[in-house]
């Protein structure tokens, strides 16, 4: 009999029984739907043990890397240690190594790397603000690359009435400790096809995960074209232009375009890579077919929804579209 460990529970599977059925039979609650490997609602993570190939059929490579599997399709040969896919990791304490504004509205934070991660994943910061009265939890994407950078880099958008961002700008200092939880998310580079064209589209601090993904792909030897499109409302909102310019100089397969959504004629001449206009129209015009491309889109939820749909309708496979929506917090 094959043994399944799920937290403090141990489940013994009957001959030919799936992990899902065995767990349900033992009264454990696992969300599930079609039981056919299609709806993916019964997805779990196996921290230890061999995951049968059939239990990962239809999952993205990024999900496979993270040891996700479909419990309804999983009939294991040996012991598996499993947990819920959305179960939160433990809190880690990380010191602030660098802290500074990189433009008017973006705070660049560099933190002690207290866990391994893939660039483009995100983490949660748990922090008490207002003299310990309010506990904030905020999610930020990771812009650094663990093999190159000896810090975790985050780009914090400063919001006028933002509890956490105002606190981080005004009170957080180098040497302070932050409580981190992560890494989370599946928006990262998976080196499955080094020749596949990559299209990276981000608005505002949506650049953070994308610059991480681009640098990660380049250092892993991605040879296909990588087009990064950074959109912002105003010209002064662009940032890390030197770093991006260096990537263009060093890697012929890498291109950057800044799309400035406000009609700012002076801005157009400020950078050879800058254009004025609407990001949706820009993508439509310059990438009329996204067939065969891998697309990463990051930014506000409304933008992510609209641009994901657009690149899907212009040919990208739904499996090749990775999205990271930034959600507002109260």
């Amino acid at each position: 009999m094959v043994e399944i460990r799920f937290g403090e529970h141990t489940v013994l599977l009957n001959e030919g029984e799936s992990v899902l059925d065995g767990c349900l039979r033992n009264g454990l609650h696992i969300p599930h739907g079609c039981k056919s490997g299609a709806c993916q609602s019964c997805m779990l993570i196996a921290d230890e043990g061999n995951i049968p190939v059939t239990a990962q059929k239809g999952l993205k490579n990024t999900e496979k890397d993270l040891r996700y599997f479909l419990s309804c399709q999983c009939i294991p040969q040996n012991t598996l240690h499993i947990r819920q896919a959305n179960q939160m990791q433990d809190i880690q304490h990380s010191r602030v190594l660098a802290h500074g504004l990189i433009n008017k509205t973006v705070l660049q934070l560099r933190l002690e790397p207290v866990f391994t991660y893939k660039p483009g994943q995100y983490l949660n910061i748990w922090q008490k603000v207002d003299n310990e009265k309010t506990e904030c939890v905020r999610s930020y994407s990771i812009a650094s690359v663990p093999e190159i950078d000896d810090f975790i880099e985050l780009h914090i958008k400063i919001i006028d009435s933002g509890k956490f961002s105002q606190w981080a700008k005004n009170h957080l200092r180098i040497g302070d400790t932050l409580q981190l939880q992560g890494p989370l998310g599946q928006c990262f580079y998976a080196a499955e096809n080094p020749e596949q064209p990559l299209l990276l589209i981000g608005v505002g601090t949506g650049l953070a995960p994308l610059i991480g993904i681009a640098r990660d792909a380049l250092q892993k030897g991605h040879s296909g074209k990588i087009d990064l499109i950074h959109a912002a409302r105003e010209a002064h909102s662009f940032y890390l232009q030197n770093e991006l310019g260096n990537l263009v100089r060093d890697y012929p397969q890498f291109n950057i375009t800044y799309v400035c959504q406000a009609d700012d004629q002076t801005a157009a001449s400020a950078s050879p890579y800058r254009v004025n206009g609407d990001v949706y129209a820009y993508v439509k015009q310059h990438f009329p077919s996204t067939k065969g491309m891998k697309v990463y889109v990051c930014g506000a939820a409304s933008f992510v929804r609209k641009i994901s749909k657009q690149v899907f309708l212009s040919g990208a496979s739904s499996r090749d579209i990775h999205a990271d929506s930034f959600l507002p917090c109260s």
Partner: protein, 117 residues
């Protein structure tokens, strides 16, 4: 040979998902139902739906279909739009006319559940 095997099993479903979903998103009658949800989850749902209507292994009950569609206030027009897009997808994939009819019949068999009648 079952209908599901005849049209090519799971690889056929995979090929149909994106074609079908593109048609649905381009259809003004129904695209708004699909606009607010995660693309990944939508693609997985389309796959489950197509597996069912292709006569493949599925565990949808009439109750699931009722629950899932209850809040959407669907009418005959919406249901027909889905069937049309489904038929167009199958034609594009070169599925035989009689198989398309059989698939449409499976889809029609759950109509009352989907429309909560």
């Amino acid at each position: 040979m079952s209908l599901y095997e005849r049209i090519g099993g799971e690889p056929a479903v995979d090929a149909a998902v994106d074609i079908f979903y593109r048609k649905v998103l381009a259809d003004d009658r129904i695209c708004h139902f699909f606009d607010t949800v995660d693309m990944d989850k939508q693609a997985a749902k389309q796959k489950a739906f197509l597996t069912m209507v292709f006569g493949g292994p599925n565990h949808y009950s009439g109750k699931d279909l009722r629950e899932g569609h209850k809040h959407m206030a669907l009418t005959e027009i919406h249901f027909d739009a889905v069937i049309e897009n489904l038929a167009a997808t199958l034609q594009e994939l070169g599925v035989a006319a009689e198989d398309i009819q059989e698939i449409a019949a499976i889809a029609n068999s759950v109509k009352n559940d989907v429309l909560n009648r």
